[in-house]
């Protein structure tokens, strides 16, 4: 492959300057998408900006129950943070469904998000959890909801010179729980045919007081299906509420037919997976007072 220039800036400002100066420069953190795309000549960036030498880009900080995850933190490192595993098991599990151990030792959730695949496993879990991204750029920093970062396959709302510095997860609310599942024809090393995530809050009586349902691989971007969450709020997850939730999920889907699955199959599976993740999230919520 043609060789780009390689930069390893030490500060966010240096990285912003390098990225802003060269519209074809690309951010490197885990490289598990970027280097594959370079080798297949899908992209030929003129410069690579390795952000891993910037202080704070790797590692997880807990702040009053919320979590600040450096954008270059690899997926396997999430599993080693017990507080994060306890607070957001669905997010940690989703990130650790990506690729193999070799891949997860490098791959990051920020990269999974910015690669903007509709089938990205960690993204529905982040969206359901209400994660935000801190984005640095020439105009300073801005915080954006995870569901507002991508606009289509391979496309994001990041402007030239901008890159994701942190992923922020809120504190897990009392009575909160989350979950992510994907459907694939094998058990490992595959791309989601459908992915579904749920994050719920239930009160002491078992009534749902908040719910966010997110879907992967059924539309050009990961979806936040607000109507599906709304269908559960105020219910005790009775069959009628669950079916209204699943209906809202199916209505939101606009998938393609491809070698992984037909549109009809994806829509049907989205409803089923959404029901399953709601059940898992609900049982986790019940354990977290």
């Amino acid at each position: 492959m043609p060789s780009p220039v390689f930069h390893a800036p030490q500060t966010v400002d240096q990285a912003v300057a390098l990225l802003g100066a060269d519209p074809s420069a690309r951010v490197l953190s885990g490289g598990t998408d970027l280097i594959v795309q370079m080798r297949s000549q899908r992209i030929s960036p003129s410069a690579i900006v390795d952000v891993k030498r910037i202080a704070g880009m790797s590692g997880i900080r807990e702040q009053g129950g919320s979590f600040i995850i450096g954008a270059a933190t690899p997926c396997t490192a999430l599993k080693e943070n017990k507080a994060l595993v306890t607070a957001w098991p669905g997010v940690v599990e989703a990130a650790n469904l990506i690729g193999s151990v070799q891949v997860r030792n490098r791959a990051t959730m920020a990269g999974n998000l910015c690669n903007a695949s509709p089938a990205a496993d960690s993204v529905p879990a982040l969206v359901a959890a209400g994660a935000t991204c801190l984005i640095a750029g020439p105009g300073g920093t801005r915080e954006v909801a995870a569901e507002k970062v991508t606009t289509g396959p391979g496309r994001t709302t990041l402007a030239p010179g901008e890159f994701v510095v942190e992923i922020r997860l809120p504190a897990r609310p009392a009575g909160g729980g989350d979950a992510y599942l994907r459907s694939i024809p094998r058990t490992e090393m595959d791309i989601a045919v459908v992915g579904a995530a749920a994050a719920l809050v239930i009160d002491a009586s078992g009534t749902c007081t908040a719910a966010r349902i997110s879907l992967g691989a059924v539309a050009p971007t990961v979806l936040l299906v607000e109507a599906a969450g709304a269908a559960l709020i105020g219910s005790t997850f009775d069959e009628a509420a669950m079916e209204r939730m699943a209906d809202a999920v199916r209505v939101a889907c606009s998938p393609i037919d491809d070698k992984r699955g037909t549109a009809v199959y994806r829509i049907a599976m989205a409803g089923i997976l959404a029901r399953r993740v709601v059940e898992i999230a609900r049982s986790r919520a019940g354990e977290f007072k």
Binding site: M1, G31, N105
Partner: protein, 162 residues
């Protein structure tokens, strides 16, 4: 395109090399350093034949740029045996005939050793999940999994069932 000068630690020794900025760690290990035990299978992170340790974690060296390794520790299949003393994983691969063509074997051995360094007593399903990123088109995996389980037992100094 000007070359980059990189200093890393490779198999315990300080290594200095020149590389193209877009060269992968795999390219440099094989073509510059002559460490040809690490194999290139797919070149896209799917097969695990190029598995090496980077700062103590296993990675696909085809998905690491050589320039990224400045100041970091790389360990390859060449460092698994101590001189002529094979690592238990290597010995058990021989014992079980856990290879045919052998192309995937260096990656499997590096990955298996990494597993046993993390988890000295893995279950069969833990072995299979851990090795999901290493593809073998010859063996059907069963002999590999048994070799790893027996290597684990040997390293725990348990008797290996006959």
């Amino acid at each position: 395109m000007s070359k980059m000068f990189v200093t890393a630690t490779v198999n315990g020794d300080s290594a200095e090399f020149l590389c193209d900025p877009g060269a992968t760690l795999l390219d440099v290990l094989r073509d510059t350093m002559g460490l040809t035990g690490t194999k290139e299978g797919c070149g896209s992170g799917d097969c695990g034949a190029c598995t090496v340790m980077l700062d103590g974690e296993m990675v696909c060296s085809c998905l690491v740029l050589a320039a990224e390794t400045e100041g970091r520790q790389v360990s390859t299949i060449e460092a698994v045996a101590e001189g002529s003393d094979l690592h238990p994983v290597q010995r058990q691969f021989l014992e079980h005939g856990a290879l045919q063509c052998g192309f995937c074997t260096p990656g499997f051995i590096v990955a298996s050793k990494a597993l046993l360094d993390h988890n000295p007593n893995p279950s069969e399903s833990e072995v299979r999940y851990w090795l999901a990123g290493n593809l073998c088109r010859c063996t059907g995996y069963d002999k590999i999994v048994r070799a790893v389980l027996d290597a684990a037992a040997e390293m725990r100094q348990e008797r290996i069932p006959a």
